[in-house]
C-alpha cells in the first residue's frame, strides 16, 4: 500500500472513533448519544451516496432526500399493512423484502428522474432534481392511506435472521458496517474505469464526448447507483426513527444533505461522513443553547462557502502538502 497521507490518517481516526465511542456511550447508559451517533452514521451513508454524483460526477442533485424517503417508506408501508391489514402482496415485516423494495424503488425512481434530469445542465439540473424531490414529497403527502402529511409510525421494525434491529447496538453495528461498505463501494467505483470516465465528464464533458464516451449513460448509471445507496440509507433511517413522514423528502432536507457533503469536503472519501457528523453535532449543541440556533447555523453556512475551499477535509489536505 502507498504512504499514509494526513487525509487517510484523519479518515482512519474518524472511522475508529465512530466504531468505538457510541457503544461506550450505550454502556454508560447514555442511549441518547448512541441515537445521535446512529442518526449521524445513517445520514453519513446518504451523504456518501450523494457525494458519488455531486463530488465525483459533478451532478448537483438538489432532490436527494427523496431517496431517503422512498427507502424509509419501503419499510413503513409493508409494515403498516402487516399491522393493520390490506395490500397482501407486500404486507410483511420481512427485512429482506423491505431492503429489496427500498433499493429497487429508489433505483427505479433514480432511473426515471435521472433520465429526464440529465438532459439538462447547470442550474436547470439543480432545479429539476429539486422538482422531482418535491414531487415525491407531495405524492406521499397525498396518500391518505399512509396518513399523508401526518406520517407513519413503524410499529415493528424489519425482521432479519440473526440480527434484531430493536437492539440499538445491533442497529448501530449494522449502520456502521453499512457505512464502511458504502464508502469502500464508492472508492471502488471511483477508481474503476467507470469512475475515471465519470470524473472525466465532471472535469470536461466535451472532451469525454470527443473521446467517444456517451457520458449521459455513465452519469445516469452513477445517478442510479447513488439513488439506490441513498434509498438504503432511508431503509436504515426508517428502522431507526420508527417514524416516517413526507417531511423527510422536503427540499430543505436535500439542501442539508448537500451542505453535509460540502462541509466535509466533496470528492473525498471521508468528507461526507465528517460533514454529517459535524452537522449533526453542531445542530445538537446549538439547539440546546437557543431556539434561535438557525441564526448561527446560517452564518456558519455562509462562512463555509465564503472562506473554506474544499470543506473540512481541504484543511487537512493543505497541511499534508
Amino acid at each position: 500500500m502507498g504512504k499514509m497521507t494526513v487525509v487517510s490518517w484523519v479518515t482512519l481516526f474518524g472511522m475508529v472513533l465512530l466504531a468505538v465511542l457510541p457503544p461506550l456511550f450505550l454502556m454508560n447508559g447514555q442511549a441518547f448519544y448512541m441515537d445521535l451517533a446512529t442518526r449521524l452514521v445513517i445520514l453519513g451513508i446518504a451523504a456518501v451516496s450523494l457525494n458519488l454524483i455531486l463530488g465525483f460526477g459533478g451532478m448537483v442533485s438538489f432532490g436527494h432526500a427523496a431517496f431517503i424517503g422512498l427507502g424509509a417508506y419501503a419499510v413503513g408501508i409493508p409494515a403498516h399493512h402487516a399491522t393493520w391489514g390490506g395490500f397482501d402482496l407486500i404486507a410483511s415485516y420481512n427485512g429482506f423484502l423491505h431492503l429489496g423494495l427500498a433499493i429497487s424503488i429508489s433505483a427505479l425512481f433514480a432511473l426515471i428522474t435521472g433520465a429526464i434530469s440529465l438532459r439538462t445542465k447547470g442550474v436547470y439540473f439543480i432545479m429539476i432534481t429539486m422538482a422531482f424531490g418535491q414531487m415525491a414529497f407531495f405524492l406521499f403527502q397525498s396518500l391518505d392511506v399512509y396518513n399523508g402529511d401526518d406520517g407513519l409510525t413503524i410499529d415493528v421494525r424489519s425482521e432479519f435472521p440473526l440480527i434484531n434491529l430493536d437492539e440499538p447496538l445491533q442497529l448501530y453495528i449494522l449502520s456502521y458496517v453499512s457505512l464502511v461498505g458504502v464508502m469502500l463501494l464508492v472508492r471502488m467505483i471511483v477508481n474503476s474505469r467507470f469512475g475515471m470516465v465519470l470524473q472525466g465528464a465532471k472535469g470536461n464533458n466535451e472532451r469525454m464526448l470527443t473521446l467517444g464516451y456517451n457520458t449521459y449513460f455513465y452519469r445516469l448509471t452513477a445517478y442510479v447507483i447513488s439513488g439506490a445507496m441513498c434509498g438504503y440509507a432511508g431503509f436504515l433511517l426508517g428502522n431507526f426513527t420508527t417514524f416516517i413522514s413526507p417531511d423527510m423528502m422536503h427540499w430543505t432536507r436535500s439542501g442539508e444533505l448537500m451542505f453535509m457533503v460540502i462541509l466535509g469536503g466533496a470528492s473525498t472519501l471521508f468528507g461526507p461522513v465528517l460533514g454529517s457528523s459535524v452537522f449533526i453535532l453542531v445542530e445538537e449543541i446549538l439547539s440546546s443553547f437557543t431556539i434561535f440556533w438557525h441564526l448561527p447555523f446560517g452564518l456558519m453556512l455562509i462562512g463555509l462557502v465564503l472562506f473554506i475551499r474544499g470543506g473540512l477535509m481541504g484543511l487537512f489536505k493543505s497541511k499534508g502538502r
Binding site: I116, M135, L139
Partner: protein
C-alpha cells in the same frame, strides 16, 4: 359546469400568477444577468411584508407604508448584494445555493427575533377592503383586483424597462455579454447592485401586497421561493417574457387544481381520499409540468438567445 365559479377562479389564478410574477421577475433578472442563484429571494419577500406591515400599523396608512417600504427593501437588497452576493459571483452555482440557503436561515430567524412568531395582520383602508361587483352574480375582493392591476402595471413597466431604456439595454447586454458591458466603460458592479436592489424591491412589493390577505408571517418566503424558481425555470432563465407566462400558467394551474381536482378525483376514489389527495396533487402538478417542459425543452420555454 358553473361558469361564474370558473370565471372567479380564473381571476384568482391570475392574481396568484401576477403575485408570483413579481417575485419571479426579480429572481430572473438577478439570475439571468448576474448568473446568481438566490434562494434567499423569498426571505426578502417576507421581510418586505414585515416592513410594510409594521409601517402600516405605525402610519395608519397602507399605501403610504408601501411607498416607503419598497425603497427600504431596495436598500436591504443592496446590503445583501454588497456583503454576501458579491462575494459569491465568481463561485459556482452550488456555492450560491448553499450560501443563500444559509442566508435564508439567518434572515428568517432574524425576522422571528424582531417581529415574533405571531405575524402581523395588516389593516386596509375601507375602499380596498370590500368587494367589487364585476357583473351580475360575480363579486370579487377589491384588494385582489388591486394586486392584479399592480402586477400588470409592473409587468408593463418591466417590459418597457428591459426593451426600451438604456438601463434595459445594459441589462440585456449584461445577460448575454459581460465583457461587452465592461468594454462600454460601464461599472458592472454598480449595474449588478442596481439590478439586485430592483429585484429586492419587486419581491418586497409582492410581500407587501400579499400581507393584507395572508398576514405577514415568518416562513412565508420559503413557500414562494421554490414556486418562483419553478416559474423562471419553465419560462427560461433570464427571460422576462418567460417569467410572465410561466407565472400566469402556474397561478392558474394551482388555483384551478385546488378548485376542481377534488371533484375529478371523486369520480374514481372515496370522498375522503379525494379530499386528501387533491391539494397535494395540485401542488405536485406544477412540478410535473416543469419536468415535462424541461424534458422537451431543457432550457425552458423562452431560453435567452446567447449566454
Amino acid at each position: 359546469m358553473d361558469y361564474t365559479l370558473l370565471f372567479v377562479q380564473v381571476l384568482n389564478g391570475l392574481q396568484l400568477g401576477l403575485l408570483l410574477f413579481l417575485v419571479a421577475s426579480g429572481l430572473t433578472l438577478v439570475f439571468g444577468i448576474l448568473d446568481f442563484v438566490n434562494l434567499a429571494h423569498g426571505s426578502i419577500y417576507m421581510i418586505g411584508a414585515f416592513i410594510g406591515a409594521s409601517l402600516t400599523l405605525l402610519l395608519g396608512n397602507f399605501l403610504l407604508a408601501v411607498l416607503i417600504a419598497v425603497p427600504l427593501t431596495g436598500v436591504l437588497g443592496y446590503l445583501i448584494e454588497r456583503f454576501v452576493a458579491r462575494q459569491l459571483y465568481d463561485k459556482d452555482h452550488l456555492d450560491h445555493v448553499l450560501g443563500t440557503f444559509g442566508l435564508i436561515l439567518v434572515l428568517d430567524t432574524s425576522a422571528h427575533i424582531i417581529w415574533g412568531p405571531a405575524g402581523i395582520t395588516v389593516p386596509l383602508p375601507a375602499w380596498l377592503d370590500g368587494q367589487v361587483a364585476l357583473f351580475t352574480g360575480v363579486v370579487f375582493p377589491t384588494f385582489r383586483l388591486l394586486i392584479i392591476s399592480v402586477g400588470l402595471a409592473v409587468a408593463a413597466g418591466l417590459f418597457w424597462l428591459v426593451n426600451y431604456t438604456k438601463l434595459g439595454m445594459l441589462i440585456r447586454a449584461g445577460a448575454s455579454n459581460r465583457t461587452m458591458v465592461s468594454a462600454l466603460g460601464i461599472d458592472i458592479q454598480t449595474l449588478f447592485a442596481l439590478v439586485f436592489a430592483l429585484g429586492a424591491m419587486l419581491a418586497g412589493l409582492a410581500g407587501m401586497l400579499i400581507a393584507p390577505i395572508t398576514t405577514a408571517s415568518i416562513g412565508m418566503g420559503g413557500q414562494i421561493i421554490i414556486t418562483a424558481f419553478v416559474v423562471i425555470i419553465i419560462g427560461g432563465i433570464g427571460s422576462m417574457k418567460g417569467a410572465f407566462i410561466g407565472a400566469i400558467i402556474i397561478g392558474l394551474i394551482d388555483t384551478l387544481g385546488r378548485s376542481f381536482l377534488d371533484q375529478l378525483f371523486e369520480l374514481f376514489m372515496s370522498e375522503s381520499a379525494a379530499e386528501t389527495a387533491a391539494p397535494a396533487v395540485s401542488a405536485m402538478m406544477i412540478y410535473i409540468l416543469m419536468a415535462i417542459i424541461l424534458a422537451v425543452k431543457p432550457q425552458g420555454l423562452f431560453p435567452p438567445k446567447v449566454r
